[in-house]
């Protein structure tokens, strides 16, 4: 089966500024893929290129095995834009009807799907109201319903939880999980790292319009663990010896901080310290959060 998204050195230049330098990434079918990066890294431009809204300057990309902009592929794609604005003079019902018609859905499927989705996002009581009367959270919900009308094989969500209250955020998270179980690939662009952390299978870090790192989040718990060891009577040579299990070793009073590849090495580290006659009081593994990895990857300045 073709990848949901496959890009090779996709590039966009505005004047003499390269907003996206060369994006190469693959998203598999059914995967929830997080797209991370500091402001101005080219995330939205990349997404718009994939959706055919912006023409790439060079490079190749395909969605669902078709070149970008292909109508058959777009029939199976959903999109919730960032800072979205919709036809505010339409009611929620009419709005979903319009988008379903543009997707070429047949009338019966469309009505059934619309009713299901309005119920799912909790807007059934408001379906006859014009969108102008909706709060930001309600608009975000109806936008999400719009993106899922065609039961897409691939859905793009650009900051889907921005401006939502905790209840709304939970709803979006649950919906992402549900559609993912049904086999929909999700391409999620978000600043909320905690959201990404709980929803995504994989993330790509993008900086200056290039993918700088791709990470499996399932491996986050045993990969990339930092550990704090409280120890006394540790000589410098013994401290250096720790580098065989970890990196970025720092000594701070009687605390030693280091990053280890996996927590499976901890028993060995303990035996080593004891054999060096050090007094070990505690060893505390700290799971690295996505935020730590983000800052480690893009740097504290956000890559400015």
């Amino acid at each position: 089966m073709a990848d949901a998204i496959d890009t090779h050195l996709l590039r966009k230049v505005f004047g003499d500024y390269a907003a996206v330098k060369g994006l190469t990434l693959q998203v598999q079918q059914g995967e929830v893929f997080g797209f991370l990066g500091p402001n101005g890294a080219g995330k939205t431009t990349s997404m718009k290129m994939l959706l055919g809204l912006i023409a790439p300057t060079s490079g190749q990309a395909s969605l669902l095995g078709q070149p970008i902009g292909n109508r058959e592929a777009m029939r199976r794609v959903g999109f919730l834009p960032e800072h979205f604005r919709f036809q505010e003079w339409l009611t929620a019902d009419e709005f979903l009807l319009l988008h379903g018609q543009l997707l070429g859905m047949n009338k019966d499927d469309l009505q059934q799907r619309r009713d299901e989705l309005l119920e799912r996002v909790g807007l059934t009581p408001f379906r006859k109201k014009q969108l102008r009367t909706f709060s930001k959270g309600m608009l975000q919900r109806v936008g999400l319903a719009q993106a899922l009308l065609n039961q897409p094989a691939l859905v793009f969500l650009d900051e889907p939880t921005s401006g939502l209250d905790p209840v709304g955020r939970r709803l979006v998270r649950d919906v992402i999980r549900e559609v993912s179980v049904q086999g929909t690939s999700v391409f999620l662009n978000s600043h909320l790292l905690s959201e990404i952390e709980v929803t995504c299978d994989r993330v790509a870090f993008i900086q200056h319009g290039e993918v700088v790192r791709v990470l499996e989040l399932a491996s986050l718990s045993n990969d990339q663990t930092s550990v704090t060891i409280r120890v006394s009577n540790l000589v410098a040579e013994s401290l250096n010896g720790l580098s065989q299990w970890g990196r970025e070793i720092q000594m701070d009073g009687e605390f030693v901080h280091m990053i280890i590849a996996s927590d499976t090495v901890l028993p060995e580290v303990t035996r080593y310290l004891v054999s060096q006659n050090a007094e070990v009081y505690s060893i505390t593994p700290n799971r690295m959060s996505l935020e730590d990895i983000f800052i480690e990857t893009v740097g504290k300045d956000g890559g400015l």
């Binding site: 959706l51 055919g52 809204l53 777009m74 003079w89 339409l90 543009l102 997707l103």
Partner: protein, 284 residues
Amino acid sequence: MSAISIIARLTFQEAIRRRIMLAGLVLGIAFVIIYSVGTHFIFGQIAADTAANMPSQMTANIMIAESTNTFMMMGLYAATFLSIAMAALLGADTLAGEITSGTIQTIATKPIGRADVVLGKWLGFAELLGLYVLLLAGGIVLSVFIQTGYTPQNLLLGLGLIYTESILIMTITVMLSAAFPALATGGIVFGLYGLAFIGGWVEQFGALLQNDTAIKVGIITSLIIPSESLWRRAAFEMQAPLTGTFGSPFTTTSVPSPLMMGYAIFYLVVILLSAIRIFQKRDL
């Protein structure tokens, strides 16, 4: 249902929901009423004066028909101007506004062509303008007919040309709106309209004074933007036999040729195709 008709219906629906239709209807009716009240007294006065001063009934009838026609053309000229203003207002914000707000993004990522978006909007506006021209220009003609029993010659052709002029301005506006922000679009369209207007006058006076250079200036202006030449052809088609010998913006002395009319239609098609092309190339 095709994508073009979905977008056309949406465009029509937007005009109704945002009360553009209502505003147009109310002001259009007010326009026809004021015109009717004004001409009611004028026509009465003319009939009385003419009957008193003209040597025979036949000459009196000719003079009454001539002056009735002049007042009708005056009303139609105002109706044409209002239709053009409506065409520019409808079109100026359409693509520009939706690009700025991002509304276009969920539309343009559907499995439809960008040409469908442009053509659908164009069709929706063309329907709206058809109703508006019918209300204003049709209202004037009907009012004069009810008051005096007068109908101009070539009425349908004349109204068709007035409608085509509003379509031409709307198409130019839609094209500019695909490239520029709404305010710039409106400014350029009215600038072009002003150019056509002054070019038309230069050509009229050139014809009266038999100055070839002035006529050429007018023709070149019509080639740049043929909107005014459509009005002048419409006026020529509908005007009474003697009126054409006097110059005024409501009548015409230098008549745009059928070739110029063909050019105007060609121009309209090229502009519409350019609008599609510009929108297809545009990053949204």
